[in-house]
Symmetry: C2
Subunit: 386 residues, 2 copies
Amino acid sequence: MFVQKFTIKRYSLLQNTLKKRQLTSYIPPKVRAITFNKHGPPTEVLRAVTYQLPPLTPTSLHLKFLASPINPSDINQIEGVYPIKPNFKTLGEHEKIAVAGNEGVAQVIGIGDKVEDLKVGDWVVMGKSAFGTWRTHAEATLDDVIRIPHEGIGIVKAATLTVNPCSAYRMLKDFAALKEGDFVIQNGANSGVGQAVIQIAKAWNINTINIIRDRPNFQELKDYLKSIGATYVISDKDLQAKNYEFEWNKDIGGKGIALGLNCVSGKGVISMAKLLRHSSSLVTYGAMSRQPLTIPASLLIFQNLKFFGFWMARWGNENPRSKRIEMLNDIIELFKQDKLKDVICEENIWGVNDKDDDDVLTRNFLEIFKKAVEEFRGKKQLIKMI
Amino acid sequence: MFVQKFTIKRYSLLQNTLKKRQLTSYIPPKVRAITFNKHGPPTEVLRAVTYQLPPLTPTSLHLKFLASPINPSDINQIEGVYPIKPNFKTLGEHEKIAVAGNEGVAQVIGIGDKVEDLKVGDWVVMGKSAFGTWRTHAEATLDDVIRIPHEGIGIVKAATLTVNPCSAYRMLKDFAALKEGDFVIQNGANSGVGQAVIQIAKAWNINTINIIRDRPNFQELKDYLKSIGATYVISDKDLQAKNYEFEWNKDIGGKGIALGLNCVSGKGVISMAKLLRHSSSLVTYGAMSRQPLTIPASLLIFQNLKFFGFWMARWGNENPRSKRIEMLNDIIELFKQDKLKDVICEENIWGVNDKDDDDVLTRNFLEIFKKAVEEFRGKKQLIKMI
């Protein structure tokens, strides 16, 4: 297996190589990509393919992916149950295939003569969903990408920037006019988005009440979430217990909880929604319970609660690039100040060496992705390509 | 029983009597009121009381109620399960009692010297909830009431103006920027609000898709709803049937359904919500099924549906009087143009004759209200006081 420990030293070497390559005689690299030509279970339909990146045009960019995570939406997109459809097209000799993956960080390795605002060596993230990030290299246009000021943030942060932290950031900004000292409640608080909510809220002096499933290592997880900034942590069992004395009651006073964030759905949403203050919003961005939300009509009619959904991909499509850049810069600043930490994730490293046999490399690339996809239900998976 | 058929002739006689009384020597009348001093089932806790209206002050008004309906919220308020609490206070020799009833139409029979903008003979409706409309007379201030231009609309329309037609009007106005030709879908379409929605939408050239429970006389009710302006009527059973070919599909084309109104709640909301177009709203104003709403998370996340509640009483408290007057005038105009018809209701008439014995009158007043409350689950009940 090509799973190797990633070190800063190796990465610097790589950067030097890239710069040199561009300055002397730039040969578009071979691409290894994880693709599919029909929907189905990832382990069945994913194929690794190799193709030659076309020559640079005046308006094109060549990217080398540094790392791409595996998100739930990537899996759903391969399965065909995600509303954003993959981009089936011809790549090299392969017709009507789509490259999997929606998130990732890449380095610019080649730039067309007419492309401004970018230089070789810059790091970029994807401007939209469905770019196809599970590949070693890609051709792109300026519109496809957003440059990030990556100095001081590692590859893991850069590669996992655009989905989870951005979702947390937007939900905290767009559904309530939160002020310092306000309270937000969320379930699934240990999810990727949940942990980002805790940390961003903490950075903005907003208190979080965090619901997690009851479990044997509850105290351990509670301690961890508090260590990253959670104000309160409670189990779903305690939340639903009758006459349970919430420890936050003394802090909140009369002002109530200003916002609810839900990634679990099901009946458990009721006990969370009941704690929200009059006229506030509950935002749903997931359904980990695989159950629909249950909402007593009285919460809508008399409490005037508002129920919204949030989907980062839609936000990206409906908002100007400038707003996205502003958000990414804010988040990167939090990363740099260490207010937003790495998501704990399983790093699968795929090392490429130009001398290696193509088929061997390609097969191994697929193996790593398939293994990561299979193990996905556990820890968040990230594929580094070095 | 003092149940008598109401006629225009009798009413005119009454008006003349009132005017004469005011012009000559005005003696504040005795009030018969349906009251309660504790919460419970209406038939158990309601008491009829008699008390003397206090003399006019420079800023007070004296009202004679013409008719008051019985609404679900009135019952809930007596039971103690309505969020707007009744106004317990001293009336005559009776301490800490509340007069039941939130809606009704009254005629001004006496005006303090400093009260402007009103004259004896004017008709008024209540400016807020919890005034206590189940009584023959009341003392009020200008703030308590809103004058309505009643010429050409009958007592039934005037007495049932401020809850159902206003709810329908606001929900059609406030949750979607509806244009002529747009489609709205609603369940419980034969309810009081539902019928108002059909008629107001029709007047504004908006199409309605109306869901009613399947029933033996389905066709009859469907015909009736179409006769008052329903574009389409469908049973809940057909709506939920798989692969049912909706007859409105050919009319709607690609633009979808712009708004959903829900007074039923429960699981049935799903099939209705699924028909709504992307980013539209579903407004809940009731839960006739006595079940919570069930909402698939995908409708929130990917379809971006928004779920709101509507409660006329809250709207009244949160919006300026001027906006309420504008709405009432619009609705009265629809009444005058016969675009909004009387709600079919059971009229219970209580005739008062000053020569009658007080106790007998009071007891009969209570009997009529109790009977009406008991029969409430059937047809809408209205008490005329003449």
